[in-house]
Symmetry: C2
Subunit: 157 residues, 2 copies
């Protein structure tokens, strides 16, 4: 058993899960703030140099887990480790945010998809990307393709 204490809190425009954009083609551009606890402020030294950050946080309003479930982006079920479902064996969320500015222990960021008050476990610099042409995106690419075909069919009708 590994026990952790939050290092800070997310301030987000979302107070309920239903407000968070979901599903195919969703782009997360919401502004928010990562409030790091003052005792950890020194840990943010030089973070301003990075354009993007990984934020590790807790799905603190999720309870229990489903090993297989249907995500908002598809009508078919997939394994939890092949989705970003909040109902995971260990309820850790991972979001890549864009760092806009830092003021003391507060990081202003865009791209939040967490609820207001979400506990933050860790922040890491985003150092490099896998080139898009090397990525395979499994069921998500298939769901996008089915969606595209359905839209084209609807447009022809």
């Amino acid at each position: 058993m590994i026990c952790m204490e939050p290092i800070g809190t997310i301030r987000s425009p979302y107070t309920e899960t239903s407000q968070i954009p979901k599903g195919l083609g969703t782009v997360h551009e919401a502004l928010g703030t990562i409030e790091v606890a003052p005792i950890f402020e020194a840990g943010l030294t030089d973070i301003e140099g990075f354009s993007h950050l990984f934020v590790l946080w807790v799905f603190d309003r999720a309870t229990g887990f489903d090993l297989v479930g249907t995500p908002p982006a598809d009508t078919r079920a997939h394994g939890v480790f092949a989705t970003r479902s909040p109902r995971r064996p260990n309820p850790i969320g991972l979001t890549i945010v864009k760092l806009i500015s830092r003021e003391g222990c507060c990081l202003r960021v865009s791209g939040v998809d967490m609820l207001d008050g979400t506990p933050v476990l860790d922040i890491k610099p985003y150092l490099s990307s896998i080139p898009s042409n090397e990525l395979r995106r499994g069921w998500l690419a298939e769901a996008e393709e089915r969606n595209q075909v359905a839209r084209e069919r609807d447009e022809r009708c």
Copy 2:
């Protein structure tokens, strides 16, 4: 306090920290296996469709943390949240691996930089990349530049 139990274990060629490649320009290509506990096997359904995965794991052989420290890639100190240091307030590691194959509850992957026996907390699909031309890489880019200048000077001597 948030408590978690590992969902699996990393099998890696590295048994000691000193064996893991570190520093500027390091490329992680080592092969390894993520052994997911059999009770979670259904959670891997459809994971084969993804080329890359995020692995969240525990720095189980690190103790304590430093808010500021000098990473292997630089001679200057930086805040822990601006580095991948194992000595973090919450000792969670994040590695992007390439998925080679799956056999039941074992995922064969490349790109491991964890020690053999490392506990795994979560696996998530890698869905998209930030384009390289949108990334700023802070102290790491500066350290690379200083290193490059030093190498060119040495070559001229």
